[in-house]
């Protein structure tokens, strides 16, 4: 489980740029949580603070009871992170890349080989497992990135726009994998701007705009709250006003303008 409490990250002179401002939400085990927001909303910064790549200005991130600021190494053992598909080693095979990452988590020998093979099987990569990744399609590279995140069998998985730029078949496979991770009892947190994807996959959604969480709830709750029948419309309804308010970084909402957060 991942608990994010009052997370803040400000940049610039006099902390004028509020990239993430007082963000709080919980991602339970066995559920898929979506972090939704327009470009520049603070999704990636929030994910990077959860991973410990960026030190929070304030607030805490607790992963399975461990504070990421105090025990970053132990927290990373508990996390699998799927970053952008461009970070693939072109001259290594998928199997080699999984081995490489597996060693970072203390996997060795037979145990490492078993996990690598399990990931290859799980992601249906048998036909490309021993080919150098040079020239792989985006979907194939995305599988490598996902496999690297899963090789140490983490209980929590973070994904940054996992279906971005993929074709229909690859999107479907990725979504199946995310569903499978939920069934395995993992806590899955992913960021996306695809509303249909969030509606289909997510048990919980946190909508972030201008560094603020403007709503948290299940897709049904968010639609009910806004009186909309589609999540996309609910999102626009919830985020639209906030987006206009916060899209200019550093501006402060006038009193009473901020929308209430679901669940408050």
């Amino acid at each position: 489980m991942i608990e994010i409490k009052n997370l803040k990250k400000y940049y610039g002179e006099n902390n004028a740029i509020k990239a993430v401002d007082d963000v709080s939400f919980i991602c339970p085990d066995g559920q898929i949580t979506g972090l939704l927001g327009p470009n520049g909303a603070g999704k990636t910064t929030t994910l990077r603070m959860i991973i410990g790549l960026i030190k929070p200005g304030a607030g805490t991130v607790i992963v399975d009871g461990r504070d990421v600021t105090r025990e970053p190494g132990k927290v990373r053992q508990l996390l699998g992170v799927q970053a952008d598909a461009t970070g693939v080693y072109p001259r290594l095979t998928p199997r080699e890349q999984f081995r490489f990452y597996g060693r970072f988590y203390g996997l060795r020998g037979k145990q490492l080989e078993e996990r690598v093979q399990a990931v290859i099987d799980e992601l249906h990569m048998q036909d490309i497992a021993d080919r150098q990744a040079e020239g792989f399609s985006r979907g194939q590279r995305q599988k490598i990135v996902l496999g690297r995140a899963l090789v140490h069998n983490p209980p929590n998985v973070l994904m940054d726009e996992p279906t971005n730029g993929l074709d229909v078949m690859a999107v479907r496979q990725t979504r199946d994998t995310i569903q499978a991770m939920k069934k395995q009892g993992r806590c899955v947190l992913f960021s996306t701007h695809y509303m249909d994807e969030a509606e289909r996959l997510c048990d919980n959604i946190a909508i972030i705009v201008g560094g603020h969480i403007v709503a948290v709830g299940s897709p049904e709750q968010l639609m009910q709250q806004t009186g909309q029948s589609r999540l996309e419309d609910a999102f626009v309804s919830l985020a639209g006003r906030e987006y206009l308010t916060y899209s200019d970084y550093g501006s402060q909402p006038a009193d009473g303008q901020a929308l209430p957060v679901a669940g408050d």
Partner: protein, 369 residues
Amino acid sequence: MNETIVARQPGRWQLRWAVARQEMVNIARHPYYLVSFGIPIFMSLAFALFVSALGETDELIVAVYDAGSSDWAATLAKWEDVTVRMVESETAVHTALDDEATAGILIPAGFDTAVAAGQSPELVVYVNQEARNDHIAIVTRRLSDALWTMGEAPPPAMISWQETNARDSGLTFSVEEYIVVIFVILGICMTTMGILAQIIVEKRETGSLPALLASPLTFGDLLWGQSTAVFLYTMLLSAILLALNGGLVGNVGVTAVSIILTTCALLALGLWFGLWSQSKNQCNAYTGVMGIVLVIPSWFALVPPENLSLPLTVGLRLLPTTYLVELLNQSLNGTATWTTAGINLLVLGMFTAVFFGLVRWRLQRQPVW
């Protein structure tokens, strides 16, 4: 979850070694990096072919004047890879040395009898200072072995080493040593710094850094692993270049430590340029220019120090490779001891420490991305 969590937290050195292994595979499969390592070896082989085409012989010749028909002289004639020429006089020995012989041996009359009587007779051995270092080393070793076959204690004979054809006083190098220095410095300067800087920049350019740092690996571990991989390749390259050019002679220990220290200094420069550069092109430009600057001391290796202008001398002293040239000079011609090489090794060590200090400062000031 159905499966238990199998991972346990690895140690720092395990993480660094994992990176080093991956980078070694990465370098071995990268055409550009392979070519970078291959060029000095190719040039070295091409030069050897060029020299042989010019007619320089590889024959190792030893001229022997046996004044008393010694039986021991017959054992010398059985040496493999060495052409032993029996001559008729001491003068003929000197003539052979002036010509192309590596060494000349004078076996006195009654040598066998004196050895048998345990009198340790004197054996005069002339060494041609213009001969190749590896040839001199071979003769020295073979002669020592041949003597000890005659008995153990007391020493069968006392060898009196005499140097002939001493090099011009102004020159501190033989041409063979010069070639070793040129290729070793070229190999280290054109590969170590540039390749390390490039594989650092590559991680940023390809976007693989966030995924790596989301694991228990720290940025420091990553740099350690990358440096280790390049260090090991540089050591392999240096060993090949030394072996190909007859550089495994003299004080090999001083040669090895000098190369290790210089490699470490250049790794620090590679880290600096890798952290500084935003793209591979920028990185290539910086490290290319710096590589040429660092090779410069080897150009002046054959020039007597007193013939260099003061500004040039001072400028060269600011380059770590100047000290490597001097150390290789001493170690290859066999005059280096840990005491005589100590100051230059210390200076090289200081360069390395300063460069790593700068990298540390840079790391503290610069965010990872």
